[in-house]
């Protein structure tokens, strides 16, 4: 075991997968330039020294090409790990992800597959509206794409490895405040959740959630940064004698809904926390499924805490009001008890 940040864990996963399988390569902007950044958040820093610039492939600022080239290379038997500097730029490649990567296998009658990985940083971090969005929910709505969102270093390495080995397109959403990136790429206000990461090969299965804290009184489902805010709220609740169970879904597609339902059958209360805008977020989907499946176990209405339906703002004072915090989670939880 070694102590690692998420950025380090992701880097080690990429390094191990590239050593294991020569079909694996990275493609993106500023990921391997000598003397460069190693990607916007240092994940690929130093990898071009070991693997060369053909396998850590720097591209022009051409997001549609990055995604489309990854699709084509994947169809021809490669295992691309594509990199977008900010999740918001996924919109520049939407056709290639939603119309091509997600649908070509189906359109072909199952005669091809698109084993690509698309990495995307999300989360509001004092950059204003276009470098801040949490976009997981958009992609959960596109059949043919898998969506994962690791919140710990252990999961980051294990899920990235699973994504590389998966025969389907997998989007990995990584939170900017959780990377623990060092040097000039350090994020102000980062949590830097350093964790124990095995240095040997292991995977975390896509589609399996994790219970981050056990409790019998209320179920809180949260992903990425919100896991930590939910855990902080759970601590405060515990001081008042309320035991919250905090579930990190880790994957949104496929979703480990049974883990959530099992918890709700025990606690009778479901609170979902996400950094995405409220309307049609993935939390809405979980709430709807819970209404279908565990309605009669519920002792209180299902509640959601999410960013309001406004663009991400810049001013720190506004951003603090935008991103759900411990206080809102606590208030919502208390209103359900």
């Amino acid at each position: 075991m070694a102590k690692m940040t998420i950025a380090e864990a992701l880097r080690q996963a990429i390094r191990e997968e590239m050593r294991r399988d020569e079909r694996v390569f990275c493609i993106g902007e500023d990921i391997g330039v000598t003397g460069g950044f190693g990607g916007a958040f240092t994940v690929t820093l130093g990898l071009s020294d070991e693997f060369g610039h053909e396998r850590i492939l720097d591209t022009p600022i051409s997001e549609a090409a990055i995604a489309g080239i990854a699709v084509g290379a994947a169809i021809a038997g490669m295992r691309p790990i594509a990199d977008v500097q900010y999740g918001d730029f996924l919109f520049n490649m939407m056709d290639q992800l939603a119309n091509q990567a997600a649908k070509l296998r189906y359109m072909s009658g199952g005669t091809l597959s698109v084993p690509l990985v698309m990495r995307a940083p999300v989360g509001a971090t004092a950059r204003g509206a276009q470098h801040a969005q949490s976009l997981e929910a958009f992609f959960t709505h596109v059949p043919g794409l898998k969506v994962v969102c690791p919140s710990t270093a252990y999961d980051a390495k294990g899920l990235l490895k699973s994504a590389v080995r998966d025969d389907n397109p997998v989007l990995i959403f990584e939170h900017k405040l959780l990377y623990g990136s060092k040097g000039p790429r350090t994020e102000k206000g980062a949590l830097s959740p350093v964790g124990e990461v095995p240095e040997e090969d292991y995977t975390v299965p896509i589609g399996k959630g994790a219970v981050r804290r056990e409790g019998a009184d209320i179920t809180i489902v949260a992903n990425l940064l919100m896991v930590y805010r939910a855990l902080a709220a759970a601590e405060t609740l515990a001081e008042r004698g309320i035991q919250a169970e905090v579930i990190d879904p880790r994957s949104l597609v496929p979703l480990d809904e049974e883990l959530i339902f099992e918890s709700v059958r025990k606690t009778g209360r479901l609170l979902i926390v996400e950094e995405d805008n409220l309307t049609s977020g993935w939390g809405a989907e979980i709430a709807a499924r819970a209404a279908d499946e565990v309605f009669f176990w519920l002792d209180a209405p299902v509640k959601r805490v999410a960013a309001p339906d406004v663009p991400p703002p810049f001013a720190p004072a506004l951003e603090r009001a935008y991103v759900p915090g411990e206080k809102q989670i606590l208030a919502a939880a208390l209103s359900m008890l």
Binding site: E63, A65, G68, A74, S108, L112
Partner: protein, 333 residues
């Protein structure tokens, strides 16, 4: 080069054997009669969907395909029947796909706009204009990384050359010397919009210079001119010298799709282009050059008719997909 009228079949056989020349004619004839036939079937209500017919553009798919190897990849558009037939997708499989049958090339999950068959190196056709260009570059990148030597051929209409993804793909293919042949089928109209309403430049091929790749314009209704240019570009790509933009000037004799009454262009213009119809031109060439005689060509034409009738029978006799198939092929397990 301007869009002026082009001369008749130019040059010689370009090293093609009699068998190859005859095969090219058969391919063109098959495309023409296949398209005319599916148009009739559509009018009779026997096949669903819309249709984007390839009539008038046959020389391009046939000429390019003659320059390819079995391990090359072809990427098509919303107008894919001709590319598929020329690449060797079975007429039965295409017809069954148009009928929405389980035996179709894509098991009925693709339809007219997504016809393809990976067994002959043709991806399901991509009906988002310009969307196939980055994917072609990606296939070519894999060819280069794996040192496999195959070429990716990206067909597109001139309208696609105004899509952002197309420009991004052209640039990436050029900077990395990727083995891609970009084949522009300039049929003068992007749906109803004339070339000159959408381009300040005189040709699509001119744009190649902006990416540092060779670009050339040929008479797309002259199958040997297309073959010659494609063969040279493909050889160049296989030598590791990078992509080529090949613009083929042509004209779609039908409307853009089934509901198009063609009121945006004149009947006189249509007649002008009809005089340059690639099929009679190449047929006359084969006879004049002594490659084939009338009996030989008539035999091929009869053979093509039989193959199309067989494809219709196959499609009509085939079962529809099981509703449970709706849920298969989304993810690879």
């Amino acid at each position: 080069m301007t869009l002026a009228e082009k001369s008749d079949i130019a040059g010689g056989r370009d090293g093609l054997t009699v068998e190859q020349l005859v095969r090219i004619y058969r391919s063109m004839r098959l495309i023409r009669r296949f398209e005319e036939t599916v148009n009739e079937l559509y009018m009779q209500g026997r096949i669903p969907s819309t249709l984007h017919l390839y009539i008038g553009q046959e020389a391009i798919a046939a000429g390019v395909s003659a320059a390819l190897r079995p391990d090359d990849f072809v990427l098509s558009t919303h107008r894919p029947h001709g590319h598929a037939l020329a690449r060797g997708v079975a007429p039965q499989a295409i017809m069954a796909e148009l009928f929405g049958k389980a035996t179709g090339a894509c098991k009925g999950k693709g339809g007219s706009m997504h016809v393809g068959d990976m067994r002959v190196g043709m991806l399901p056709a991509i009906a988002i204009v310009g969307g196939n260009a980055p994917i072609a570059a990606g296939l070519a990148l894999a060819s280069k990384m794996q040192r496999r030597g195959f070429v990716a051929v990206c067909y597109f209409g001139e309208g696609a050359a105004n899509e952002g993804a197309w420009h991004e793909a052209m640039n990436c293919a050029a900077i990395w010397n990727l083995p891609v042949l970009f084949v522009c089928e300039n049929n003068l109209y992007a749906a109803s919009t004339h070339f000159h309403l959408a381009f300040k430049v005189e040709s699509v091929a001119q744009r190649a210079a902006a990416y540092g790749m060779p670009g050339l314009t040929v008479d797309g209704n002259d199958v040997l001119a297309v073959y010659r240019a494609a063969d040279e570009a493909v050889s160049r790509a296989r030598r590791g010298e990078g992509p080529t933009l090949l613009e083929c000037l042509t004209y779609r004799q039908c409307g853009h799709s089934r509901s198009d009454p063609r009121t945006y262009r004149s009947r006189a213009e249509e007649e002008q282009w009809k005089a340059k119809d690639p099929l009679p031109r190449f047929r006359a060439y084969l006879l004049e050059a002594g490659v084939a005689d009338e009996d030989g060509l008539s035999g091929i034409e009869a053979d093509v008719e039989a193959e199309i009738q067989d494809a219709i029978r196959f499609a009509e006799d085939s079962p529809e997909p099981d509703p449970a198939d709706l849920f298969t092929d989304v993810f690879k397990e």
